[in-house]
Amino acid sequence: MSEFNPNILAFCCNWCSYAGADLAGVNRLQMPPNVNVVRVMCSASVKPEYVFKAISQGIDGVLVLGCHIGDCHYLTGNHRTAKRIPLTAKILEKVGIDPRRVQLDWVSAAEGEKFQQVVTQFVDDIRSLGPNPMKEVRF
């Protein structure tokens, strides 16, 4: 059997975490190629529906990255993210999905290294969880 290669989706806010991901690139920080970034303007615009959709259709993990609390480009957007995403994970847990498949973290525009760490750790976590069981349930 071939090695499990997780397919991961990451939402990054334009101002901090996307820029942090850019910085990781500029500094050539190497990390596993499993995380695919979708740019949104603010992490607070990430609807739980996107996470549900991704997980229900077989994405192995969803990472939501925003600005650190207090640094949100839109003042308090990420305060909502901080409540919404853990709740989203909890809802998934209720229907039998390991909540660790959904993770929220803060990465500033200056934290290329943190982006690398978060991505590497998340890929490790998802690898240890194994493939998303929803993958076998074709919609």
Partner: protein
């Protein structure tokens, strides 16, 4: 019908060394809606942009996807190219296969190529659903408000007035000049600060377009770029000013190091500003002095370098020696930061004139002991590797500059962010240093970060130049990433109204019922309301749920079909 063109960039070796560009182009060509897929050595070069424009015309493209670097720097360039080729710039989608792919998977070409395919598929899926957008316009009130009449605010106001712009200056104290008023001479060039303040003040008082509000503070700020309404509390009276732009020049204050190095305990322990005050008097008499630099900064909790204190210590050491050539002055430091030729010269002069430099560390901080008419300072000199005792008449603490107490309130009024130390945070440290991300609000001087008087003036003038752009243009364009309400789906629950950090949404009458409505000029395009809506009744232009959903679908599809 969709006619998508995909352009994959080599970026020289930057992308092509890890990503097989040919393979990605071949893959892109087969994606739904794609009628053209090509590659460029450097897409952002004149040649690259030219070939994109030519392909748009030759292939009659109506969507453009460029897979290259980061939209954060290059999106405007490609959007412009699209416009020049006759396509609405909002029909362009950027895919980042450099920072987010080739550079971070440099040693895994196969996996990097596979990921680049996924990212391109996601970009194409989103591009399929992009719609042309019109940028809104809104009128600009030809008036500016400057908050703070310190040196930065004065410089900004004078510069605005020079351009003929009516300017209101709000100052909380009863005079202009701010913190600089407490400093007699500015180093390293020994400029008389009072002259500097007076000359700037004169430019205000001589202009009929200047309105100086002393003993005043900002009570409320409403509106958005071009159309702000600032309420000024002046004593018991409230004054309302309409303005097109606002400059924050609220400055800084000196940190009072309660409990550190015997401050508050021994009268002989004072701060640098108190030294400035005493030096300004003719009867300054102390002869044995030490200055502790970084007192309260560059340590846990306040890690930053306050930037101006080293030069101030050097300048004051020399001023002490000017007044009393027999004085013994010791500077205790943890690195002397005297950048620039003039300041370095100050450092050299101080050394030559016998100022003693003692390097201390945080592990063994200098200790202060009581003594009659002074203090004894016990310091571990890291260079000598031994402890020395200094008998002092005066111990001066060069403490950091910190944000004014009301900066929390100012930030809230203007809806602008502050960093972890409480200083205001600009839109981009290099590209937009005097602008806030909030359009029409600018920042200068030590409100942003402790800076010298000279830098305050630069920044004040820079902020004024930036603020005058919308005012002189008379109108502002609004990036079409704003939120839109579908009133038929809206239940008028008001969740979005509460969620919006900019108070840009209100519930209005719609047909015979109520619905939310976004004020486009006030919307900053964060999308917070979108996720707060339970009915999917709000969409953010360029980030709609269909578009993001299509990206997720494309990622799943590409992975299932196997690209790695």
């Amino acid at each position: 019908m969709l006619r998508i063109g995909v352009f994959v960039c080599h970026c020289g070796h930057n992308i092509a060394s890890a990503v097989d560009v040919d393979e990605v182009v071949e893959f892109a060509r087969k994606l739904p809606g794609v009628v053209y897929a090509g590659q460029n050595l450097y897409s952002c070069s004149q040649e690259g942009l030219g070939s994109i424009k030519k392909s748009i015309e030759d292939n009659d493209l109506n969507r453009v996807v460029v897979a290259a670097c980061t939209p954060r720097t290059h999106e405007p360039l490609f959007r412009r190219a699209c416009e020049q080729a006759g396509i609405n710039k909002y029909l362009f989608e950027f895919v980042n296969i450099r920072e987010h792919c080739s550079w971070i998977h440099a040693k895994e070409p196969e996996a990097a190529t596979g990921k680049a395919k996924k990212l391109v598929a996601m970009g194409v899926a989103k591009a399929s659903l992009l719609e042309p957008q019109e940028e809104g316009e809104s009128a600009v009130i030809p008036r500016a408000v400057v908050i703070g009449a310190g040196i930065s605010g004065l410089a900004a106001a004078a510069s605005l007035l020079d351009q003929g712009i009516e300017t209101h200056i709000i100052e909380s104290k009863n005079c202009v000049g701010g913190l600089l008023r407490e400093v007699a001479v500015i180093g390293p060039e020994d400029i008389d600060s009072r002259n500097l303040i007076n000359s700037l003040e004169k430019r205000l008082t001589s202009s009929p377009k200047a309105h100086l509000h002393l003993n005043s503070r900002v009570k409320e700020v409403k509106g958005f770029v071009g159309n702000f309404e600032v309420t000024i509390a002046k004593g018991d009276e409230d004054i309302t000013v309409q303005a097109g732009a606002i400059i924050v020049a609220t400055g800084t204050r000196e940190f009072q190091p309660a409990g550190e190095y015997g401050f508050d305990e021994y009268p002989a322990v004072i701060t640098q500003l108190e030294l400035e005050r005493r030096l300004a008097k003719s009867d300054f008499a102390a002869s044995r002095m030490a200055i502790i630099n970084c007192a309260g900064s560059r340590q846990p909790g306040r890690e930053y370098c306050s930037r101006v204190c080293c030069n101030a210590s050097l300048k004051n050491a020399l001023r002490i020696l000017d007044k009393n050539p027999d004085a013994q002055v010791t500077i205790l430091h943890r690195d002397i930061m005297s950048c620039g030729a003039a300041a370095e010269e100050l450092y050299r002069r101080a050394s030559e004139r016998g100022v003693r430099f003692v390097r201390y560390g945080l592990e063994k901080r200098p200790q202060v002991h009581a003594k009659e008419n002074g203090v004894v300072l016990e310091a571990f000199d890291e260079t000598l590797d031994e402890t020395i005792d200094l008998d002092l008449d005066l111990l001066i603490l060069a403490t950091p500059l910190v944000p004014p107490e009301d900066s929390v309130e100012t930030g809230k009024h203007l809806k602008v962010p502050r960093d972890k130390y409480g200083f205001f945070l600009e839109a981009h440290v290099k590209l937009r240093p005097v602008e806030f991300a909030t359009d029409g609000v600018f920042v200068c001087g030590s409100a942003r970060w402790p800076v010298s008087a000279r830098e305050c003036i630069w920044q004040g003038q820079a902020a004024a130049a930036k603020a005058s752009i919308p005012i002189s243009e008379g109108k502002v364009r609004i990036e079409a990433i704003t939120a839109e309400v579908d009133p038929d789906r809206c239940a008028a629950c008001g969740n979005c109204v509460l969620a919006c950090p900019y108070e840009a949404i209100e519930i209005v009458e719609h047909l015979d019922t109520m619905a939310a409505k976004v004020n486009e000029a006030q919307c900053k395009g964060c999308g917070t309301c979108v996720a707060a809506c339970h009915n999917d009744a709000i969409q953010q232009k360029g980030f709609s749920s269909r578009q993001l959903g299509a990206m997720i679908d494309a990622l799943i599809r590409t992975a299932t079909e196997g690209t790695q």
